[in-house]
């Protein structure tokens, strides 16, 4: 068992027993070795269930919204990417940070079971250890060492925030990841390079796969409306019909609604049952914002309101065509 797991139990024990928190939100093992699931623990006797390993991929922070209606103080384990989402929840007044103890866990990247499965590495898997850029598989058939990058979640490969940006306690030391990323927005530029017909074909193909399960929305830390516009047909803005135009409408508006607020955690793409690369919409917007309005900082702080509810007098103006007026 990894020492980090022990650390999580220690701190949880300390704070639960001293009443510093009423509940901790962390991870517990599931039915498979490659499955770690959100768990909610208020009773110190259940703390042995807590674990931290290479499969704690979920961002737990969104659970705070409901849990805090239940208890006063909560301790929660957050990775770098999670902490950005947490900040955004605070920014959106969904979570009162005073009632939360963030146990920050530096993260080397989480392992994607589906990638292991594709290479048929799940069979007889007993345990998996992570050390730097290597993963060690311990299986019935013996051990196997793998390049971490090849089996990480896509969203982890170019991780920009391995360390939590906000925490009250940090478990483990800061991590520096060697991302040899040449261009952050390579894949976006590839799409931009297409002509509009190709782009439309590409996206309508993607969108038409959508089954409107809303996993992307519900996992998203910045989609925190009490009643999403896509679950409220009264205003007559969207419908339930499974037609291309509705799917396109959903995806465009979803992306627009998180514009300037998306923390680029990549969860939307991870959970999409149809494998739609939703983050390529968000990242396009992030690219534009970075290029036009400067450093993109959603989730890095809770003080600044998002780009689209701000302006500068001298903002770039792409519109004025025929000069006139001022």
């Amino acid at each position: 068992m990894e020492e980090i797991t022990l650390k999580t139990r220690e701190i949880a024990y300390k704070d639960l027993s001293t009443g510093k928190v009423d509940r901790v939100i962390g991870f517990a093992k599931g039915d498979f070795i490659y499955e770690s699931n959100p768990t909610f623990i208020s009773d110190i006797d259940e703390l042995d269930a807590l674990v931290w390993d290479s499969f704690c991929v979920n961002n737990l922070s969104k659970y705070l919204i409901n849990e805090l209606k239940d208890v006063k103080k909560i301790g929660i384990f957050l990775k770098g990417c999670d902490s950005l989402g947490f900040n955004q929840l605070v920014q959106d007044n969904k979570v009162d940070s005073d009632n939360v103890l963030v146990y920050g866990v530096p993260c080397e990247g989480m392992v994607d079971p589906n990638k292991l499965k594709k290479d048929n590495l799940l069979k007889g898997l007993i345990d998996i250890k992570r050390s730097g850029e290597k993963i060690l598989l311990i299986t019935k058939q013996g051990d196997k060492e793998l390049k971490a990058k090849e089996y990480e979640y896509d969203k982890c490969i170019n991780c920009k925030h391995p360390n939590p940006v906000v925490y009250s306690e940090l478990l483990g030391d800061y991590i520096t990841r060697n991302n040899n990323v040449v261009d952050d927005f390579q894949e976006i530029k590839e799409i931009e390079a297409m002509n509009s017909e190709e782009r439309f074909d590409y996206w309508s193909k993607q969108f038409s796969k959508c089954i409107r399960c809303y996993a992307c929305r519900n996992i998203c830390p910045v989609c925190s409306c009490d009643k999403c516009i896509f679950e409220n047909y009264e205003p007559g803005i969207s419908g339930k019909g499974k037609v291309d135009s509705e799917d396109q409408f959903f995806h465009i508006i979803r992306a627009y609604h998180v514009a300037g607020r998306c923390v680029d955690c990549g969860e939307c793409s991870r959970v999409c049952p149809e494998g739609i690369s939703i983050d390529k919409l968000n990242r396009k917007i992030i690219k534009d914002i970075t290029e036009i309005y400067g450093e993109y900082d959603a989730g890095l702080n809770t003080s600044k309101s998002s780009v689209l509810v701000n302006y500068e007098l001298e903002d770039f103006d792409p519109f004025e065509s025929i000069k006139g007026g001022k």
Binding site: E192, E197, I252, G260
Partner: protein, 154 residues
């Protein structure tokens, strides 16, 4: 065979009457459109204006709905930045629509189909010329099928 197809092309061109939905802010662009009328400017009849208090009232939902229901182009016109009747409204419009037009372009909607511009109450000429320009470009592009809701009957 060759002849037929050729004819079709011609017919298609003749039949194509682009529909342009224009959102105009009450204080500048709508007034500009009025002035265009008062000064008997001329622009095509397929441009249909919807009055909004300020360009910052235009929700991307409206734009998409227009395209869904068969608009071939959409125009959003407001006061010049700095002249907003509500002092800052169009600064937000400018940011929102910068992002949104880029997004639509990225999805594959030709930029020419969503036109944003600043037209003051005095710029009757500009109003007319912008509308003519939009129509011309949209006409070149031909009917818009993208984002179109197949269930909508026109």
């Amino acid at each position: 065979m060759f002849l037929e197809s050729k004819e079709e092309v011609i017919i298609e061109k003749e039949e194509f009457k682009p529909l342009i939905v224009a959102f105009c802010c009450n204080w500048c662009s709508y007034a500009g459109a009025d002035l265009a009328g008062t000064s008997r400017q001329n622009y095509p009849a397929n441009i249909r204006i919807i009055k909004v208090p300020c360009s910052c009232r235009v929700n991307p939902n409206f734009v998409l709905r227009a395209f869904q229901n068969g608009a071939d182009g959409v125009v959003i016109a407001g006061c010049h930045p700095g002249d907003c009747h509500y002092s800052t409204g169009n600064y937000f419009t400018r940011r929102r629509l910068t992002i949104f037009t880029n997004l639509l372009d990225y999805i594959g909607i030709e930029r020419e189909r969503l036109k944003v511009d600043w037209i003051s109450a005095a710029e009757a000429n500009k109003f007319a010329s912008v509308m003519n320009e939009v129509l011309e470009k949209v006409h070149k592009l031909g009917p818009n099928r993208k984002l179109r809701d197949v269930r909508w009957k026109r």
